[in-house]
């Protein structure tokens, strides 16, 4: 299966290890992975700030990079959701194909690859951070507001990892407060939301906080480091790819 790897701009620049883990994991699971070299960004930073009108260039570049692959996979629920909901181009046939064939990493592994076993080992106490766009936008897990039966694609995979003890914070799916440019334009509330998530994970005595979006983890990591906390953040791809 030919998979186009979409690595969001800030992961490319600041968290290459997450991208490496994603690539290696997909290869382990039998995918032929290509990384189109001229990719940049999905355009979400502009669109969420009200400047969707400026994201044409990003859209065009995205279609030029990913127009020829069967599936597109990315280790970011938020960027995937943005592409799914907002990607348009002069070549609307290709744009439509991309919107329908782009997947967040864990949903791709569970729904398309239908993986039943993961041979990873991560003997640590890990807290699950559910990122909103993956959850409420891509339906990666059940939502506390709805009365539907509970499920979680990321937790399903993490529970296959040897030695891993998974815990949930008391408020299972409250937002961490990153929110794109919200994190600087509403700095006070953003940080308070992040601190509160961290407090709930700390009560569970976790060593790591994991999730499917590096943006949320970057925000939590920034607060943890400022607090001098021993708790680390780690992307789910890094855990699923660990030996």
């Amino acid at each position: 299966m030919k998979v186009g790897l979409f690595i969001p701009c800030y992961i490319d620049q600041f968290y290459p290890k997450v991208a490496v883990a994603t690539l290696e994991l997909l290869e382990k699971l039998g995918c032929e992975v290509v990384y189109p070299l001229n990719q940049t960004c999905c355009g979400q930073p502009m669109a969420n700030s009200g400047f969707a009108s400026l994201s044409d260039g990003c859209d065009k570049n995205f279609v030029a990079n990913f127009g020829e692959v069967d599936h597109i996979v990315s280790p970011s629920g938020s960027c995937v959701l943005h592409v799914k909901e907002h990607l348009h181009d002069q070549d609307e046939v290709k744009a439509t194909y991309i919107r329908k064939h782009i997947y967040e990493l864990t949903e791709f592994i569970v729904d398309i690859l239908k993986v039943k076993n993961i041979t990873a080992s991560f003997p640590h106490k890990v807290g699950m951070h559910i990122s909103c766009h993956g959850q409420r936008g891509l339906n990666l897990s059940s939502m506390s507001e709805l009365t539907a039966p509970s499920f979680s694609k990321p937790a399903y995979l993490l529970n296959m990892v040897k030695g891993l003890q998974l815990s949930e914070p008391k408020r299972v799916d409250e937002c961490c407060g990153f929110g794109g440019t919200f994190c600087v334009f509403e700095e006070a509330v953003s940080v308070k939301m992040g601190k509160d998530r961290i407090t709930e994970h700390s009560v569970n005595e976790v060593e790591y906080i994991t999730g499917g979006d590096v943006s949320c983890l970057m925000h939590l990591e920034g607060i943890l480091k400022r607090q001098g906390s021993k708790v680390k953040t780690i992307h789910i791809a890094e855990i699923l790819n660990s030996d």
Binding site: V20, A47, L54, C132, L146, E187, M193, D196, R226
Partner: protein, 471 residues
């Protein structure tokens, strides 16, 4: 750059005296333990709501039904409003129409003057808050006594309500005790809720007995019967309406429902969503004036038809004012209702208020992480977070954005549209962060750094690694 210039560049100044949401929220967060208390108090209400809705197997279907009835009604609003007017008049109710807040207030003033009324009581009505009725009447020498306990507390303090269902939720019992000591002469330092409530009860009883005119809101107006329903937990709408010789009920045009049987959907949705109660303590049905009483209904537009004409935002008029979106909103819980500087705060307020005044409320659609929890709890399935996103686009295209933000976004869009420039910029940026960390590590210029460390800047990007290792 000094921080003041930074703020001028990146934040739109809000018109009038009020601070922007982010500035007010920053002040709110200065007292962290109080912010925690506010957050936990409202989360408690959200949890009560969760428990209540899980007791109904068909909850999600009920939401869909409520949503469909409202959609249908909004699409046939002209007919239902006309039907309601005809039936209400046949019941002996006087129906008035108000184009805007001013006309609404003038109608009430006219009734007060014609009937030579001196004592007015009012039960909770967010519409009258939206129209600033109390201020309007006070300036003309008429005092209105709010009879909802929470509203009376904030009225004593000269504050607007901070929440549409729980108007004084931002106050602790100590604050109430001080306020009552000052205004009702209760014992100083006595914070016992029962003692304080009893004092309010005695005080309000006198007001009810002497009132000549009672104003109430309307939760649901039934087109086919010409009657309306007012929901309260304190019975204060009944106390007011039954004691006074004149009852004025104020409603926005969107309060119409086609038939009485639809109350079976909405009353179940409303109380569970609002407070987790199976039903509001008092669901009072008013159909006609009693002998010797006058009953008026004022049907108000005040921007609603304009919102109805906006395809992206018309469904916001489905709102039944339960405030579930307030209680679930992680931003509302940590910024308090007053940060929204509008009568209706919270996520729903952030999609309603830009319609009333885009310039004054341009900050509100940005007071959200777009987490989507609001849309999930909404009993009539308004896609609130989607509309927040759409309002952002609308505000920017109408020019309500700070110049610095516009320049930054244009620059960012340019870089991200050109792969080679993006790569050079990324490399330079990371090099700068490693070589001159003090540029980014500046608390007054970089809001990220105020309370968070910057991510570490690696020497190579993923693309660099990929080219080296995979090609």
């Amino acid at each position: 750059m000094n921080p003041k210039n930074f703020n001028r560049l990146f934040f739109v100044p809000i018109q009038g005296a009020s601070l922007s949401h982010s500035a007010a929220a920053e002040i709110f967060n200065k007292d962290e333990s109080r912010t925690d208390w506010h957050d936990e108090t409202l989360w408690f209400v959200r949890e009560k709501r969760d428990k209540a809705v899980r007791q109904i197997a068909e909850w999600e279907q009920l939401r869909s039904l409520g949503s469909s009835i409202k959609d249908h009604t909004l699409s046939n609003l002209d007919n239902y409003l006309a039907e309601f007017e005809k039936n209400a008049q046949a019941n002996g109710i006087k129906v008035h129409w108000a184009f805007d807040a001013e006309e609404h207030n003038e109608i009430i003033l006219k009734i007060i003057r014609e009937q030579k009324v001196e004592q007015v009581v009012k039960s909770k009505s967010m519409l009258t808050e939206e129209c600033h009725l109390n201020d309007f009447l006070a300036k003309r020498g008429v005092e209105v006594v709010d009879t909802d306990l929470g509203e009376r507390i904030v009225q004593f303090r000269n504050e607007p309500p901070s929440h549409i269902v729980l108007p004084a939720i931002h106050l602790k019992k100590q604050d109430v005790s001080e306020t009552f000591h000052e205004h009702l002469g209760t014992e100083k330092g006595n914070n016992d809720p029962q003692y304080l409530t009893e004092a309010a009860r005695q005080h309000l009883r006198t007001k009810f007995i002497h009132s000549q005119l009672a104003i109430t809101g309307v939760n649901f107006a039934i087109a086919s019967t010409g009657g309306f329903v007012v929901c309260t937990n304190e019975g204060n709408a009944d106390m007011g309406a039954h004691a006074a010789k004149i009852h004025i009920a104020c409603m926005g045009i969107e309060k119409i429902i086609p038939n009485a049987e639809h109350l079976g959907v909405f009353l179940r949705l409303l109380a569970r969503s609002a407070t987790g109660q199976p039903i509001t303590t008092y669901s009072s049905h008013f159909h006609q004036p009693r002998v010797g009483q006058q009953m008026h209904i004022i049907i108000v537009d005040n921007g609603r038809t304009k919102q109805l004409g906006r395809p992206d935002f018309r469904s916001s008029l489905k709102c039944i004012r339960c405030a579930a979106c307030f209680n679930t909103c992680p931003v509302y819980r940590r910024s308090g209702g007053h940060s929204y500087h509008t009568a209706v705060a919270g996520p729903i307020g952030s999609i309603l208020n830009p319609n009333l005044d885009m310039k004054a409320n341009a900050d509100l659609p940005f007071a959200s992480t777009l987490c989507g929890s609001c849309s999930n709890v909404c009993p009539v399935k308004i896609d609130i977070h989607v509309q927040l996103y759409k309002w952002r686009q609308e505000l920017v295209s109408e020019g309500y954005t700070a110049s610095g933000k516009k320049v930054a976004m244009k620059g960012m869009a340019f870089v991200l549209s050109h792969p080679s420039i993006y790569r050079v910029a990324g490399k330079m940026g990371r090099w700068m962060m490693r070589a001159f960390p003090f540029i980014m590590n500046n608390k007054s210029l970089n809001p990220w750094y105020k309370q968070r460390e910057m991510p570490e800047a690696p020497k190579q990007s993923f693309r660099d690694w990929y080219k080296k290792n995979k090609q």
